[in-house]
Symmetry: C2
Subunit: 84 residues, 2 copies
């Protein structure tokens, strides 16, 4: 990917947020693809430093998975949710 970078915390806030946004999109796409191609359910969740749920992605049986595995009140904590 682009110019090679060392895998360590990006200290510059703006750059860190940009990188997070870009990589999150790619991760969600990949999570989506593996879920479809490999017929598995996938949860991908990123927690911000403050502890809030930032993102969630899955393919199928989403509600079921949420009820079975997650304690958090979804509506309240999810910034947004993408279901492929």
């Amino acid at each position: 990917m682009g110019r090679k970078i060392e895998i360590k915390k990006i200290e510059e806030t703006t750059k860190r947020q940009v990188t997070f946004s870009k990589r999150r999109s790619s991760l969600l796409k990949k999570a989506d693809e593996i879920a479809i191609c490999c017929d598995v359910d996938v949860l991908f969740v990123a927690f911000s430093p403050s502890g809030r749920l930032n993102k969630f992605c899955s393919q199928q049986r989403v509600e079921d998975i949420l009820q079975r595995y997650l304690k958090v009140p979804v509506e309240q904590r999810l910034t947004y949710m993408t279901i492929s």
Copy 2:
């Protein structure tokens, strides 16, 4: 990546499992990287069709996250766990 494929369920079992294994590794690596570079906690979970947790990945405060967000008895359900 490699020869282009259509994003739909891979019907051939062997090929599907091979693809799952490869893509899971890549996803975990990416999840690891975004966690470190962007200073976020990440959960990545793939559920097999039978519902068992197949994989989990995170960076930090793992136990805390598990206790706060997951209902499942970790020891019991995780096939294996990778913590970066």
